[in-house]
């Protein structure tokens, strides 16, 4: 058996067969009766695999920061990699000791992870404001349509506007239920065809980059 066979060909055939059977099982009950049980079991196995696969991202992150410390690269930023290691060790440590919903883990979650996550996500509010000030112009019809619909939707979800001017609500409802539905319907259909096309390309082994 050549290298190419077990390193590349067989994995791609696994994708093809598994994907095809999963699709066919849905449309043809008699096939579903034959392969449904094993496929269901494979999907259960996939959930366990997904749990294991997550760790690889963390492992790569740890390896990257470890390299920075060992090689003293990106000075003086390598010192922050030590901070990273301390926090990951403390977090995993408290969860191992007290369990994932133990008081120590809950403390780390409530007072470090949650506030930091909320804070970092919320910094986009500042960038969106700067973008609104610097970039969005009523330059032509296209930009005007984009901005007007955006501003109408924005004011319709803010009580400061809808309280004194309740007509914004039905206007925005009409916008959401008619033109936005029309535009989004096509967009969703386009992206669905795209994702189905990509999936079929992978299943037909025309997309070798899929497995890395």
């Amino acid at each position: 058996m050549s290298d190419e066979m077990y390193k590349s060909t067989i994995p791609f055939w696994i994708i093809t067969i598994l994907g095809a059977l999963t699709i066919v099982e849905y449309f043809f009950p008699f096939i579903g009766n034959i392969v449904g049980g094993p496929l269901e079991m494979l999907r259960t196995y996939s959930t366990i695999l997904a749990g294991a696969a997550y760790g690889i991202g963390t492992a790569l992150l740890v390896a990257n920061h470890g390299r920075r410390i060992v090689r003293r690269t990106m000075a003086p930023h390598w010192a922050f990699s030590i901070v990273f290691f301390v926090s990951i060790i403390v977090t995993v440590g408290v969860m191992l000791i007290g369990g994932q919903t133990g008081p120590q883990a809950q403390w780390v979650f409530d007072y470090i992870l949650a506030p930091s996550g909320q804070c970092l996500y919320s910094t986009t509010a500042f960038f969106i404001s700067t973008a609104g000030y610097r970039i969005f112009r009523f330059r032509n019809l296209d930009a005007t349509v984009l901005l007007c619909s955006g501003l109408l939707i924005l004011v319709s979800v803010l009580p400061l506007f809808t309280g004194p001017f309740p007509f914004f609500v039905p206007m925005a409802m009409w916008l959401n239920n008619v033109p936005v539905v029309a535009g989004y319907r096509a967009f969703v259909m386009g992206t669905s065809f795209g994702s189905i096309g990509l999936g079929l390309r992978i299943m037909l082994q025309k997309h070798p980059e899929a497995l890395g």
Binding site: Y54, Q106, S129, L151, R185
Partner: protein, 281 residues
């Protein structure tokens, strides 16, 4: 002199000043709130009607996939939904597809326990089946065979067959009604196509405001019954149920931030067009 007009210099305003402005406005409105009445949108009313419609005693599937980022906005609508269902003696089966929900679940249950007029009994009124990895594949596998994916145990490792709530419940089709808190992950279409559509479950979602345009499609075709949409949805739900709280307090600060944004856009355009008329770029 750089040769720039005053309008161009205004347009080149340092982004840090703009950032400080938002910070000050939101802080001030949180510290000095005023009450502003607002009309309830059809989405809020629709979601309230959906939760009210769930028959008493029904077992409801609840995918509690909230995240830390969306917790301040979605916690009110999530906890009030849970409370309303418990008040009707509904039973709720929880699971989640996001890691962060592991830390949030107990907090939400504690809040609802306090709100509830009766003591909630684990295994009778609710059960927590824990985190299910694998996103879409995990959701499909779970909804096909709950005991297969969970290994027959709940989040605490206890056999789920020992709990009365799980009698006759082993898949998505065993829930006549379902609620999916999708946080900000845009997984609503996934739950519609893997839960609502194949199993015929009447589905509603609790999601961030950003997902609304994508969801209106499914509301229009009836594939999704209702949505509690972001902070406004939470505030409306608080208002409709008479339990004004966190969301109602935040919505005013957000309103003034939105006003600030509108002013920025208008001013930016005014300065731009004046600068252009005076020969600027």
């Amino acid at each position: 002199m750089s040769g720039k007009t005053i309008w161009r210099r205004a347009l080149d305003l340092d982004h840090r000043i703009i950032a400080t402005g938002i910070f000050l406005i939101i802080t001030y409105m949180i510290l000095s709130p005023i009450e502003i009445p607002f009309p309830v949108s059809s989405y809020g009313q629709q979601y309230y009607d959906f939760v009210t419609e769930v028959p008493a005693g029904t077992t409801v599937g609840f995918m509690m996939g909230d995240t830390v980022a969306t917790k301040p906005q979605l916690k009110p609508s999530t906890t009030i939904t849970m409370w309303m269902l418990y008040e009707k003696n509904c039973k709720i089966v929880y699971w989640y597809d996001k890691v962060e929900a592991v830390g949030l679940m107990n907090e939400y249950i504690a809040v609802v326990d306090e709100m509830s007029s009766r003591e909630l009994v684990y295994g009778v009124d609710y059960i927590d089946l824990g985190f299910i990895a694998g996103t879409e594949t995990g959701a499909v596998a779970f909804l096909e065979n709950i005991r297969g994916v969970t290994g027959g145990v709940d989040v605490n490792g206890d056999p789920i067959d020992s709990f009365p709530i799980m009698e006759g419940v082993n898949g998505g089709g065993d829930f006549a009604y379902g609620i999916a808190n999708c946080g900000c992950e845009c997984t609503e279409p996934m739950y519609i196509r893997q839960w609502g559509m194949p199993y015929g479950t009447e589905l509603a979602t609790i999601n961030c405001a950003m997902d609304l345009p994508a969801i209106t499609l499914y509301l229009a075709t009836g594939q999704l019954r209702a949505t509690a949409n972001g902070l406004l949805g939470s505030a409306e739900f608080e208002y409709l149920t008479g339990r004004l709280g966190l969301a109602f307090g935040q919505i005013l600060a957000v309103s003034f931030a939105g006003l600030y944004f509108v002013i920025l856009v208008v001013l930016g355009n005014v300065f731009y067009f004046i600068d252009r008329s005076q020969g600027g770029n």
